[in-house]
Symmetry: C2
Subunit: 467 residues, 2 copies
């Protein structure tokens, strides 16, 4: 693998496109064969749709394994789309070049009949099939079922020999040697290096750690990620209900899980349902549906502002000047709330905070809210007072209006901060994902209350003058 | 390491607290010594501040190595705070039990004089010092300088022997064997397994891959993460300007970098400056400053809404009903904008989209915006029309008002979606982080324009009736 430079990443796809346009297919293949599968995948993803299939087919013709390794690096839907026109047995032969955990998500996204026929045609069907029988977000769904394990009675010498015989990239990646009893139960783990430092006739159960971090095939993928991340593991063994070793999840799978989780979190924070596929791969209809649902919920919630405003219609009529600052004031509540929410969402996600800490947080956020509110309140007061004084804006009582805006901002920002910080806790308490307390969600919540605060302050301060 | 269950995670800290309160310190130590360093760290982080230092000191007394391993798993500031009362040479001795890449961030956060004296007192100072001389977000800052490398002239047999001699967890973790020439330049990589499958007298330059993915010590940590993630590596070697091997970054460091990046992104998306420390470790003053800066910027931007509203003051005065829907309409623009922005921010971050794709995206988002706008517009129209008809709200021209609201929503949502989707591209084009196009930022941008759209539509539809 060459040293990839961002420059190169951008150049190659365009060279490929030029070469394809020029019909110089041999050159394309020659160029691609020099690339790492991950880079080929990036190229396939970048080039225009009409070029993608032909380029892939070309590569399959010259180097099936490389082509499929690249396909495995693509989003599964995109990968499946590159296969769906082929015959079932051909698809089967191609997918068999991949480890089961790479083949499964592609099989899953092929047209049903093709998928079924391909699965029947696959000789090593056991692997991919077992994965597809697992629940959707389970560890078993992403494990590599062909894991390198040794019976506890093996000697260090035989273990090394077995490793020497074992072929393929999978063995190349062996860093933990799992040890099983005669019924295939996971009983320990040892390392290749430890095999080398003991006399060859040492039985491995003597050089193994019997206390292994493991995960059940039905457990959540996020738990696998948490284990690998917090215990700095390179892989975690997967066991079935009877502690039988059924596979392993390597750290590169975990990185994919983490990336996927981050994507979904960021989309939720943006106030839409998380997409199941990359943005460019998501059909327009799905895209609109996933966005519309939340948008409608928020819109209906926001309708309450119209009700609230209607409630204060008289005040507005008699002091139109009040209406001018409505957007300024409610948006300040939304902004401070979104800040607080995002802080809590992340702290809860990484386990820095737990539900138990809500009171401590509330205490701290009340103080933050007061501080931030006072700052914005001061600026707001100054803005209105100065405009009133210098430009004679906002009528004769502009100073009172300035006071109203200033004090309202303190209240609204305080309220926004506190509710924004508590919402993620409430979400978690209700068993929902704290990340759903998105900026738009928080903003909608505090807009109505913001109006109430504003017009209440106005009523108090402008009584007898403007109102 | 036992199988950690969330249950256990919650129980242990409270058992510890109970035991400490009861003064049963020996039990505390006994309990902690059974835990994995990562779990001890979690416990130290969870227990009340007043218990943290004594508990840690207890553990240091009984098991220095374990105590320091746990400390290394804490946020560096917190870790440093647990050491700052000790004598420099003692701090040095404790930090020497850690790999340089774990010691450096703690050294860095100790009080200056203590830090300097501790660094002088550290015998293996080379390691940690070299890291601290590196730039802030560079790969060299997080590398492990004591990397296992072999001269190219070594034979496979000697390599295995060297590995057998090499002690410690670092060698335990060896999965890539880096090969260097006589001047220490990185010339290749091989695997432990490959050493075992060739005759012992084979020189390793014959079984090495000379085309190694590597990273310069001055390059960004994010690039290290990208390399490890996209090429599914377990570690990436770090070289200096002359291609001399100076260290390696293992996948567990990369996971920390990714986590840290996600945290900062989520905070930026929330509309505040990213914190440098965990929320609970960030001093109140810093916390308020990081939030206030953006809040003030947004507030000043939002002041334009007051200007815009003032510009339409007459219209509002003659048709107060118009004011009632201002929050509803501008918030819809902000929400749709925040959805679009979060989609783009993530797609740009994972390289699914590049600057070149802006036009394709714009095209797609215009359609999405029209679709979403029509949906909200229809609901908005219905809401106002029905209230007008059924409750006789919004005066005699309620149907015209309903039309105004409906059409404005189409325009505002369309505009929000398009600007929300383009802002991240503009940010990236300007060399800024796309993640700064936060929901609050987008909302502020589209609020003013939302008002203009609304009152323009109103002027067109209500001319001669309400206006």
């Amino acid at each position: 693998m060459a040293i990839p430079s961002p420059l190169k990443h951008d150049l190659v796809p365009h060279t490929v496109i030029r070469l394809l346009a020029a019909g110089a297919t041999d050159h394309v293949v020659k160029l691609l064969q020099k690339q790492h599968p991950a880079d080929i995948a990036r190229i396939l993803q970048r080039i225009p749709d009409r070029h993608r299939r032909p380029t892939f087919d070309l590569l399959v013709g010259h180097n099936r394994t490389l082509a499929m390794q690249a396909l495995a690096e693509l989003a599964p839907t995109l990968g499946a789309s590159l296969l769906e026109d082929r015959a079932a047995d051909e698809v089967a032969r191609l997918l068999e070049t991949l480890p089961a955990d790479d083949a499964a998500p592609i099989l899953e996204r092929l047209p049903d009949d093709l998928s079924t026929r391909a699965r029947d045609a696959m000789s090593r069907r056991g692997g991919a099939d077992r994965l597809l029988q697992q629940g959707d977000r389970t560890a078993g769904r992403i494990m590599n079922p062909d894991v390198f394990a040794l019976p506890e009675t093996t000697t260090a010498g035989d273990a090394v020999a077995a490793l020497q015989r074992s072929a393929g990239q999978q063995a190349e990646m062996v860093f933990y040697l799992y040890v099983t009893d005669r019924d295939g139960h996971l009983v320990g783990v040892t390392s290749l290096r430890r095999l080398l430092v003991v006399p060859p006739d040492t039985p491995i159960h003597r050089i193994m750690t019997s206390d292994v971090v493991r995960i059940g095939e039905d457990e959540d993928q996020q738990e696998a990620a948490r284990l690998v991340a917090s215990y700095n593991l390179l892989a975690v063994p997967v066991v079935d209900g009877h502690n039988k070793l059924v596979g392993s999840i390597t750290v590169d799978d975990v990185i994919d899980v983490m990336d996927d989780r981050t994507t979904k979190d960021i989309q939720k924070l943006g106030g839409l349902e998380a997409l199941d596929e990359p943005y460019t791969q998501t059909p327009f209809g799905t895209l609109v549906k996933k966005r519309a649902r939340w948008l409608i919920v928020l819109f209906i919630g926001e309708m309450l502002t119209a009700t609230a405003m209607a409630y204060y219609e008289e005040e507005i009529a008699s002091a139109v000047v009040l209406a001018l600052f409505v957007p300024l004031i409610i948006s300040s509540g939304g902004n401070s709330g979104s800040q607080a929410a995002s802080l809590m969402i992340r702290a809860l996600a990484v386990g820095e905070l737990t539900l138990r800490d809500w009171w401590r947080v509330m205490h701290r956020e009340v103080l933050s809210g007061l501080a931030l509110g006072s700052i914005l309140g001061a600026i707001g007061f100054a803005r209105v007072a100065v405009w009133g004084r210098v430009f004679g804006a906002y009528g004769e009582h502009s100073l009172l209006v300035a006071l109203t805006v200033g004090f309202s901002l303190v209240g609204v920002v305080l309220w926004g901060t506190v509710s924004g910080s508590m919402l993620p806790f409430i979400m978690k308490r209700l068993g929902a994902d704290p990340a759903t307390s998105s900026a738009p969600f928080v903003a909608t919540l505090v807009d109505v209350t913001g109006l109430v605060i504003y017009f209440t302050v106005a009523a108090l301060l402008l009584q007898g003058t403007l109102l």
